[in-house]
């Protein structure tokens, strides 16, 4: 299947620092791509490039096979790329219905009496949540703050999908959640995939990645250290790779040699 979004040889430099170097990625509809890596690997820069917050220094971005240039986050959204942030993205003191339609409120009536069709908004919200497997929220007028973290994620994801997102960028959605809630989010990711969207699942939790991913990219220093599909690598190897792999072993080995870490630490 042709990829819906592609990064080809993308490089991003900030003031002499190269955050992303000659990176190529592709996302296809109905597929989950896991982007793994430690802090500082360049994951957030990739997100910014995909969502139009930043533009590449070199390289191209393609949507549906055509080259695009995102001048603003709104342009990225118009191409169907939506980012769902971890805690941010829902308004705890607003109702589920209002949350769902922020920025795209359905209206009825004529000016000057044009008003939000709150029943429609509520129905939309509840039905999208249901499609993602959340059955327990039935009142669209509940405050989002009374929903659990997983339900809020579902709301944010459901909203993005409903309003035409074809690519979902999920930035560390399970980072602050316990096991049970994380499981709920992983189920959401699978449900979104079943919906037919492309999911970019960014995480530093290898287990979560292995649970849901179809393809994987491990990022290091802005470069793709490894790219593989489901089944091609085991969890142990992935963990080792993420923890530093060969580089860590080399650094530890230097400890015994002259000029190595051991000598630097002042050990005999």
């Amino acid at each position: 299947m042709a990829p819906v979004v592609e990064l080809r040889g993308v490089t991003k430099e900030f003031a002499g620092v190269r955050a992303v170097n000659e990176l190529s990625l592709s996302l296809s509809l109905g597929e989950v791509l896991c982007l793994l890596g430690e802090n500082g690997a360049g994951k957030s820069t990739v997100i910014k490039l995909l969502t139009g917050v930043q533009t590449p220094t070199r390289g191209e971005i393609f949507v549906d096979g055509k080259q695009v240039h995102f001048g603003s986050p709104r342009e990225a959204r118009e191409h169907g790329i939506a980012c769902v942030y971890q805690e941010v993205g829902t308004f705890p003191l607003m109702s589920v219905a209002r949350n769902f339609v922020v920025g795209a409120e359905p209206v009825k009536g004529r000016w000057p009496f044009r008003r939000i069709d709150m029943n429609k908004a509520s129905d939309m919200a509840i039905s999208e949540l249901r499609k993602l497997g959340i059955r327990r929220v039935t009142d669209g007028h509940r405050l989002v703050g009374s929903l659990s973290g997983g339900e809020r994620q579902a709301l944010a994801i459901g909203r993005a999908i409903h309003f035409g997102a074809r690519v979902l960028v999920l930035d560390e959605p399970t980072a602050a959640l316990g096991v049970r809630e994380s499981a709920g989010v992983l189920r959401l990711i699978k449900a979104a995939r079943a919906h037919g969207v492309a999911v970019l699942f960014i995480t530093h939790n290898a287990y979560h990645a292995m649970e849901t991913g179809d393809r994987f990219v491990v990022l290091r220093h802005g470069e793709a250290l490894a790219t593989f599909s489901r089944g091609e690598m085991g969890i142990e190897e992935l963990l080792s790779l993420m923890a530093g792999g060969d580089e860590l072993r080399e650094l530890m080995a230097e400890e015994d040699g002259p000029g190595g870490l051991g000598a630097q630490a002042g050990m005999p």
């Binding site: 986050p73 709104r74 959204r77 980012c83 942030y85 941010v88 993205g89 829902t90 308004f91 705890p92 003191l93 607003m94 209002r98 339609v101 922020v102 920025g103 795209a104 409120e105 209206v107 044009r114 008003r115 939000i116 327990r136 929220v137 039935t138 009142d139 509940r142 405050l143 703050g145 009374s146 929903l147 659990s148 339900e151 316990g178 049970r180 709920g184």
Partner: protein, 348 residues
């Protein structure tokens, strides 16, 4: 919140069935409304003063008109200020705008003997200009609106005083205004000012916009999380600038009402509103951090403040103690409101 609490509330959620709807009674549902705290404060205030001062004239027709007029004047400016707070910003310059309006109308009518409507139109222009100034500076520089409007407060107050002195040699000018301007802004029925009607009008418009329209949803989103709102396509900058213009216009309206009602224009008119408007909003349930609140709540907050600040005159107490009382009451009202909101957001 400690981790123990967080886990406990998570446990509560899980045991309910992964966030299933809890059965809540009718009374509980009422408490969940954002207006609940303000309404409770207003009722309690009224009862206290009815008991302590009812026989002194607080409950008489004149007495009721006394505090109702004061509450209405506060409401006229507190409603737009409160709405701006719901969008996450403060306007401290409203007092100076009211003062500028006052002196403009008084100079036009009292000093130059022009129609007061000319003064009113000029004042509206000044209000729009200052609202735009506040709004644009806040959205372009991202400085806290508290600081920006504090600066505007001082600038406008100083400019008003300087101009008033330069033109007329005084900062307090008599303004005996009659005719149509008086009918519109200061007519009176058995002691009840038309300011009450103006306040109701402002309230109807604000309530409609915030509760029913898309723009209203944008207000809550902007105040709740401006980044997320923008990410969803809400034009947060436009929302804020429009609301800054609205709070300035509220100040212009109350400035006109008070000047023509009290027949005097002064640069210091309305200086109190800088704080009382915010107080009325907070008592009425508007969160200082934005994203929550209601117009009706602000009305209740204004009523509460009107009852308390004017009711003390009927108590016969040592004037020092009345100040203490007002402060204490406000504190308790805000505490009660906070508690109700905790219940509302599910942490009761």
């Amino acid at each position: 919140m400690s981790t123990a609490n967080a886990e406990q509330s998570q446990a509560a959620v899980r045991s309910d069935g992964y966030g299933g709807p809890r059965r809540i009674g009718a009374l509980h549902r009422l408490i969940l409304l954002p207006e609940a705290g303000g309404l409770a404060s207003a009722i309690v205030a009224f009862i206290i003063f009815a008991i302590l001062a009812g026989s002194n004239g607080f409950l008489s027709q004149l007495g009721t008109a006394n505090w109702l007029d004061g509450a209405a004047e506060l409401g006229i400016v507190a409603i737009p200020v409160g709405t701006l707070m719901m969008a996450g910003e403060f306007d401290l310059s409203v007092g100076s705008v009211a003062g500028a309006t006052s002196i403009t109308i008084a100079i036009c009518d009292g000093y130059y003997a022009l129609s007061p409507w000319i003064g009113i139109v000029i004042a509206v222009g000044i209000g729009v200009a200052i609202g735009l100034l506040n709004g644009l500076i806040v959205v372009k520089t991202k400085l806290p609106s508290f600081i920006v409007t504090l600066a505007t407060l001082l600038m406008v107050a100083g400019a008003g005083l300087g101009l008033a002195n330069a033109i007329t040699g005084s900062s307090s000018i008599s303004a005996q205004i009659g005719g149509s301007a008086h009918a519109v802004f200061a007519s009176n029925f058995k002691g009840f000012d038309i300011s009450i009607a103006w306040c109701i009008l402002v309230a109807i418009i604000a309530s409609w916009v915030t509760r029913k329209t898309r723009f209203g949803n944008w207000i809550y989103a902007t105040g709740g999380d401006v980044q997320a709102a923008r990410a969803n396509g809400v034009p947060t900058d436009t929302v804020k600038v429009i609301l800054f213009v609205c709070s300035a216009l509220g100040a212009v309206l109350v400035g006109a009402v008070e000047t023509i009602t009290f027949q005097n224009g002064t640069t210091t008119l309305g200086a109190e509103f800088d704080f009382t408007a915010i107080a009325a909003a907070v008592i009425g349930g508007v969160l200082l951090s934005g994203g929550y609140g209601s117009t009706v709540g602000v009305i209740f907050g204004s009523l509460t403040y009107g009852i308390v600040s004017l009711g003390v005159y009927y108590l016969g107490w040592d004037p020092n103690l009345s100040q203490l009382f007002i402060g204490l009451f406000m504190l308790v009202a805000v505490m009660a409101n906070n508690r109700l909101r905790q219940l509302a957001s599910g942490r009761g």
